[in-house]
């Protein structure tokens, strides 16, 4: 060993220092350039062009302007039950509780901060979740790059005012409000995450390990997110379709040999129809994300040509068929035909009355099965469900796409203004939607309901104010 070797090492270090990094790492760590805003609305705009959240009767079917899904059959009207009184019968949900565990961008983890939200289900509450502003979620910044999807890990999603009714043999009576542990406290409500599955057909498929469809919920970023830390603020807006999209369902179960039903609230089954006796409501929660760089967006006014219309804009590269379905969810389910086999009754446990009841139901189930499965082969079964999955966009990892830009004309106006569009080329459509019409509640759009605007000509949106049409 001699000193020359030491000097050589020193020389190497000095030479290396000429090639030092360019990024101020420690300053970056204390800077947050990506803002994630979470909204519960179908509409994009933050200050106007909204449909109001109408109060609806919980006992009336959705088709008659109520909140009740057609799968609610055992207790179709809780006000007629023996002993029914305020608090002991169905009531409107008032609070949505979300426990968010993690957020990823194209698989890259950007947040593992636990974020617990309690959101009043009301327009009047002026909560950012529903007033279009959006709740800002705590995240870290991703690295520079392009991201096309958000994985949104929802640990629990609770809607309150879930009621439990128990059978008396001759009818049902109110038992209690359903309870759930939420944020380490006992709360009233039902965690619908556990029902967010599609087990009837997922169990036969490779992706069955991902059956809980909100852990994660995979949300497409329409137009993608190109993150560059040179930009001071990049906004990623995530919208979950919850406003005007909640229905009442019925969950059937046995407890200590007693047949019970729980009336709870969840996202509308407009896409994947939920039928009586079914407990799975997975892939009916729809979401979309879009991104923009603050200060680099365009605005445009669009005439919809009539009142009570939604105006939507989609990137020119997308096809409108990705944003709707060809027929209603109910009719798509019907087309599954005799491959849509009856569900077996659940075993109630060793209680003699309940078991006798179970065997009766089981005999009926066997008869129904034999009737339906006559002539059914595995190939026919598989083909029928494949067709169904294709029709409800089941083969897309995102499911049904929601338009990235949506605005409502109002019931009196006939135009909308989009204030925050990422520069690019878009196609504009409108859909007739009158919120006062009962049949529109809890529904999105069929492909045929999208009517193209501007004579089908795409519009090139530039930063700043654009000429409307």
């Amino acid at each position: 060993m001699n000193f020359r070797k030491i000097y050589l090492l020193l020389f190497i270090i000095i030479i290396s220092s000429l090639n030092c990094g360019k990024e101020p790492v420690f300053t970056e760590m204390s800077t947050n350039r990506l803002t994630i805003r979470l909204k519960g609305t179908f509409e994009t705009e933050s200050t106007s062009n909204f449909v109001t959240m109408a109060s609806r009767d919980v006992e009336t079917l959705v088709s008659s302007s109520g909140l009740r899904d057609d799968s609610v059959d055992d207790v179709s009207d809780s006000t007629t039950l023996s002993g029914a009184a305020a608090g002991m019968q169905d009531d409107l949900p008032t609070t949505l509780m979300l426990d968010i565990a993690e957020i990823r961008l194209s698989g890259k983890k950007i947040s593992n901060y636990r974020q617990v939200l309690e959101i009043p289900l009301s327009d009047a509450a002026d909560h950012p979740f529903f007033n279009g502003t959006g709740i800002v979620l705590k995240t870290d910044d991703p690295g520079d790059g392009y991201y096309d999807s958000v994985q949104f890990y929802i640990r629990k999603m609770v809607l309150d005012n879930a009621k439990v009714y128990q059978s008396t043999g001759s009818g049902f009576v109110y038992e209690k409000d359903a309870e759930v542990i939420f944020h380490e406290n006992t709360r009233l409500g039902l965690d619908i995450n556990q029902l967010m599955v599609n087990s009837y057909w997922d169990s036969l498929r490779l992706e069955q390990s991902e059956t809980i469809r909100v852990f994660p919920m995979v949300i497409p970023i329409v137009g993608g997110l190109t993150y560059n830390r040179e930009n001071d603020e990049t906004v990623l807006e995530i919208r979950l379709v919850i406003k005007n999209f909640i229905k009442k369902y019925e969950y059937d179960y046995y407890e200590d040999g007693v047949y019970k039903v729980c009336h709870y609230y969840g996202p509308s089954d407009w896409l994947r129809d939920v039928r009586a006796g079914e407990t799975d409501i997975g892939r009916n929660l729809h979401g979309v994300a879009r991104s923009y760089v603050e200060g680099n967006t365009g605005s445009i006014g669009v005439s919809a040509g009539g009142t009570s219309r939604y105006v939507v804009a989609i990137p020119i590269t997308d096809d409108i068929s990705e944003y709707g379905i060809s027929a209603t969810g109910v009719s798509l389910r019907t087309t599954v035909g005799n491959s849509d086999l009856p569900l077996p009754p659940s075993y109630p446990g060793a209680y003699i009355d309940a078991v006798l009841d179970y065997y009766l139901k089981y005999e009926k189930y066997k008869n129904d099965w034999n009737t339906k499965s006559a002539g059914l082969t595995v190939d026919l079964y598989e083909a029928a469900w494949d067709d169904y999955e294709a029709a409800v966009h089941g083969y897309s990892s995102y499911g049904l796409k929601i338009p990235p830009y949506v605005a409502f004309t109002g019931t009196a106006g006939n135009s909308v203004t989009f204030n925050n569009i990422t520069p690019g080329s878009y196609k504009f459509y409108y859909c007739e939607y009158n919120p006062a019409t009962a049949t529109n509640y809890g529904k999105l759009f069929l492909v045929s309901e999208f009517i193209i605007l501007n004579s089908g000509n795409p519009v090139n949106i530039l930063a700043g104010t654009n000429a409307g049409f």
Binding site: M1, I13, S16, V25, F26, E28, S30, S111
Partner: protein
């Protein structure tokens, strides 16, 4: 402050008195040999860096060689330091630096050394995907005693500054404190 200074003086005086009674005088020359060693111990971010990263355990290695002026040695050190955070951010540091060590000329069975140096630090940050070398400086102290003819044990306390304020847009540097127990060996080079 004055009280602390008095206590420190009394402590050093006691140590110097004890040295006359110890049998370690035959090993006093261990500082004069080249040495190689390892260290392991708690590492923690300091100041504003502490707001974003959590403390952890880290370790490293070093080599020291004598200089013509006996109380001084030159060292080459490196370590691996991983810092997690409350969120998803995580940082990996590999400082590589040279330093100058000065043996405080007090004749004690334990040796006090002061050290200062500079070099480069490999910084890797996730999820930002930043992977680069930054200049760095260090200062520290080491309290050591011989554990036999060839081995020594030391407590080392180092402050590391990863310097970034020269970069465009930078307002912060990285500050870290390393404490560690080290074991190192005298070499007959």
């Amino acid at each position: 402050m004055r009280k602390h200074f008095t206590v420190l003086c009394v402590f050093l005086l006691c140590l110097s008195l004890c040295s006359e009674l110890s049998a370690a005088s035959s090993r006093k020359k261990y500082f004069s040999k080249p040495q190689i060693g390892l260290w392991y111990g708690p590492i923690t971010p300091l100041f504003e860096t502490n707001e974003h990263l959590d403390p952890n355990l880290g370790g490293g290695g070093f080599f020291r060689y004598n200089l013509p002026y006996a109380p001084l040695k030159i060292g080459l050190e490196s370590s691996y330091q991983y810092y997690d955070s409350e969120g998803v951010a995580e940082m990996r540091l590999i400082p590589v630096y040279t330093n100058l060590l000065w043996l405080i000329p007090i004749d004690l069975p334990i040796r006090f050394q002061l050290k200062a140096g500079a070099g480069l630090c490999k910084v890797r940050v996730e999820p930002d995907d930043i992977n680069q070398w930054d200049p760095m400086f260090m200062a520290g102290t080491e309290i050591s005693f011989p554990a036999g003819k060839i081995a020594n044990i030391a407590l080392r306390l180092d402050y590391l500054c990863v310097y970034e304020e020269h970069l465009k847009g930078a307002t912060q540097n990285g500050h870290f404190f390393n404490a560690g127990i080290s074991l190192y060996f005298n070499l007959n080079l």
